[in-house]
Symmetry: none
Subunit: 418 residues, 2 copies
């Protein structure tokens, strides 16, 4: 089955926003065994949108359209669809009810511009998998059209929950499609690409994808087949091969985040964690607490951004900072031990470094980061040199610190000294 | 002058690669005062490319085409252009010479597939600003076509060095184009949309855009004109009108973030800040430290995720937590005062709440958040009810806490009690 994608928005035509929706839709459709033949992007412009719609109808079996469904003046999709396909707008009661429930629950007043969103082209079918996010679909002769909001999260949700299943239910491809994501941290992109080349007996049917997600790298496997058990077995075999090649750099497969993996490890063992953050400024705590239920193992932490706070809150001796600097091995060790003591946790992790753009020196250039992990048995520390912007240095430091906890439980390499 | 962009490549259709070239070209053209009316992406597919070319020729004064110029089998652009525009390929000696020099300098052997790149459509003009990177241009009736390599660095270089100057030398559009972003926090989308409708004397020439960026809302203004001072004056006037309508909910214009605005306010007054975070888990500290130089005013903070740590680190009485709960007005006030004392800062802000999805109760449902601000004169606190996912509740709480500092200096409404 062949189809097209149309994305709508002045912000895409002006280069203000990157077209994440086209990219996501193309990736998901391709991974599902469908073929995308064209992506068209137009501004909030009636004539251009109408032309794009008409052209897509002559070439495709499905068309995904994103953007222009909101309540503001430049949201013109419904109107243009009505005109172009000769399907007059009428007030859809189901959609209106939906909008009313949504705004009431949020204490927003109903308005004419919000009601506008409920005026739908004739025979439109509302897509609303969870009662919060809405889009609609139309069948125009042999072509299925799907209209989705331009907000990336909403678009992705509807794409996965409604659009893909609907297209696939009308396609004659093999009925079972499964994806798997293998998440890697600590190897750079060329290294991952080289590893992928080494895959023996690479199954022709498994579609491999490679998605750098700084500072992680993700490999995706997609396979279509006749039945669930066979597909799962083949994916398991391929995942095993990849894990053999990549080793402990694989930290998760599926939807797991680093902090979820670490959290599960702590919870399973009934252990607790605290963090002492300098250059990451709270990012590690923020990541840990993004996981529901993290209060079971995460006790808290300190953000010791000033030297004085390192002394006051973590008992780092002032002379130590004076002699070695706040970004140094002795300080990170004391930070890890200090936070562990103060919060009375099983593990204490600490990060101190120079995130930039200022503050670097020849001996300690921007990107110099020390990480420390204190446990009952021992304290381990190490120096890193990270690259990139201030935010990238912070992010890499935070993920590396979390990865240390994972590797601690994994009994890994330099942390196996425990 | 209006034009289109066509990007070519199977990797774009499969979602393996994000379309950085279309994004770059659109941004550069728009910033140069030109209008992009459509972006079309096709795979390495003769028929689709030919159709896209023909369609673009009927609508545009210029067309930028990227990709398919290389030496591999799937590089089909030259051939398709020759067929579609009826301009037979012939060996371009200048281009051949160019390629020979290039490969010799790199110790590569000349081959038939490399020579293929020198077979150009009739009357093609080679673009080679520095003798390394090559593309070509064609004039087809009233339309100027530019063919560029798909490698982003090369494409960008040719775009800036050759394509933009050439288009601008033939364009009659107004030379100056300026954008402005006005950032709003604390008003929901429908409220912002309603306010935009009220704009008096809305200049037809100023293009308004509205971009929700949870939890912020951004309004963009774009204006084209003859000279910088006039354009700036008109944008200033419109910004003033919007600020009058929206009031103190406007927290920044331009590229400023909330944390940068707050940071500048603190720095200007030589004042310092510390934060006590419960449900935000470190997010406020993380945001504050994303700003370079934030160590000038941000001393640090504590993440008191457990009740015990609220007692130990911030001197919150255990009986207070027992009586009112950790998510309560007395506790947030003590947290703010406690962190201010511990870090010896001018201001202390505190957040405690229920981010969900678990932990809510009928009296204190998920999304209940208390914010407190302690200064020398006084401590102020307030209860909020935020909506959305765990991450959204955290984000809204963090931005609201930062906004309190802004409003404190602003001398605003409920914080004016100071």
């Amino acid at each position: 089955m062949q189809g097209e994608i149309i994305t709508i928005g002045n912000e895409l035509m002006s280069g203000r926003t990157m077209d994440l929706n086209a990219w996501y839709a193309a990736g998901r459709l391709t991974a599902s065994g469908l073929v995308v033949t064209r992506i068209t992007t137009v501004g909030d412009d009636p004539e251009k949108l109408s032309t794009a719609l008409r052209e897509a109808l002559t070439h495709s079996q499905f068309v995904i359209i994103t953007g222009g469904l909101g309540s503001t003046e430049d949201d013109i999709t419904n109107e243009i669809v009505a005109d172009t396909l000769n399907r007059p707008l009428s007030l859809d009661k189901e959609m209106l009810e939906q909008i009313k429930l949504y705004v009431e629950a949020r204490g927003i007043e109903m308005s004419a511009s919000l009601e506008k969103m409920a005026w739908m082209p004739r025979d439109a079918r509302v897509l609303k998998p969870d009662g919060n996010v809405c889009g609609f679909s139309l069948v125009e002769g042999p072509v299925r059209l799907y209209f989705l909001p331009g907000v990336p999260d909403q678009m992705r949700f509807l794409m996965d929950e409604c659009v893909l299943p609907d297209i696939l239910s009308h396609s004659k491809t093999l009925p079972v499609l499964r994806h798997r994501v293998i998440k890697i941290y600590g190897l750079n992109e060329p290294a991952v690409a080289e590893i992928l080349k080494k895959l023996p007996d690479r199954s022709e049917k498994i579609v491999l994808g490679f998605y750098p997600r700084f500072p992680e790298n993700h490999i995706t496997l997609s396979l279509r087949g006749h039945d669930e058990p066979t597909v799962t077995l083949e994916l398991d075999a391929m995942e095993k091969e990849i894990r053999n090649l990549v080793g402990a750099y694989v930290f998760a497969s599926g939807n797991d985040s680093m902090e979820a993996v670490v959290g599960r490890m702590l919870k399973k063992r009934g252990m607790t964690l605290s963090v002492a953050e300098s250059c990451t400024g709270g990012l590690i705590g923020n990541r840990l607490t993004n996981v529901p239920g993290s209060s079971d193992y995460f006790q808290g932490g300190v953000v010791v951004y000033s030297n004085q706070s390192k002394v006051d809150l973590l008992s780092v001796p002032a002379e130590m900072i004076e002699r070695w600097g706040a970004v140094s091995d002795p300080v990170v060790r004391q930070m890890a031990e200090g936070v562990r003591e103060r919060f009375k946790t099983d593990l204490g992790i600490a990060v101190t470094g120079i995130a930039g753009p200022e503050g670097g020196s020849p001996e300690k250039p921007v990107g110099t980061v020390y990480i420390g992990l204190a446990a009952e048995e021992k304290t381990v520390s190490r120096k890193y040199r990270f690259w990139g912007t201030r935010k990238q240095v912070k992010l890499n430091s935070a993920v590396m610190a979390l990865d240390w906890v994972r590797r601690y439980f994994h009994g890994d390499s330099f942390l196996s000294g425990f």
